[in-house]
Symmetry: C2
DNA sequence: CATATTCATTGTAATATTGCAATGAGATAA
DNA sequence: TTATCTCATTGCAATATTACAATGAATATG
């Protein structure tokens, strides 16, 4: 991100930015979509599905986990990931609070 | 963004990532929220409002304009910015297509 | 125990982002 | 014309992100 002056902004603005950053990479979107389709997956599935190295997938999973959008549970020798429903709903609301705030002005303004 | 293997992903995944990237900075969210509140603004308003340098604001405005989320029209000596309603609706739909795809599984999966 | 499997972590190189001073470009006013 | 105003662009330094090979840690299998 480079130098960011986080202290200039509200907590809400910083939180939304942080969540949006997770969506700001096609690999992470692909991971999310794979989870939407299959409910559950392990690191190895994604390595096979996306064609990225294991370390790279692992790193993306960590970022998804850090904002709480997914959760992982140890399943023997592997780790099973899935979407966190509560957090998912919260994030959807966070975005829609912004989206819904827009109302087209009466006359075109510019 | 660092090295990104865009060719590994679908056009939809790359588009959503690109749009999300615009939301992935608190300054740009602050700009959007200011526009939601005031409908219209010029560069100078934002410099005063956010406390960032004029060049920095100008750069953020360019990125917002590049994904089409805002549009600017020359207004004498200044440039008047506002939200692009059509594009706004499209972006909201793009996100909600992903958000709405989630349905909590019957039994907790992980 | 020894080996294999699965995933996380570390370290590193390549690239992208952020922020700003300085400068450029276009319009308006004196 | 000359000066001023507003904004975009350029160039730079500091920092962040991306991707992966190598290694480490934990569990399972023979």
């Amino acid at each position: 991100m480079g130098v960011t002056k986080a202290d200039l902004f509200t907590q809400e603005q910083n939180e939304l930015a942080q969540v949006a950053k997770v969506f700001a990479h096609p690999a992470r979107i692909a991971i999310i979509q794979y989870l939407l389709k299959c409910n559950t997956c392990i690191n190895g599935d994604l390595v096979h599905e996306l064609g990225l190295a294991q370390a790279t997938i692992s790193q993306h999973l960590r970022e998804l986990k850090q904002v709480g959008i997914i959760q992982g549970t140890i399943e023997g020798v592997s780790v099973s990931y899935c979407i966190n429903p509560v957090r998912w709903a919260h994030i959807q609301q966070l975005f829609n609070e912004v989206f819904d705030q827009f109302q087209a002005p009466d006359s075109s303004c510019c």
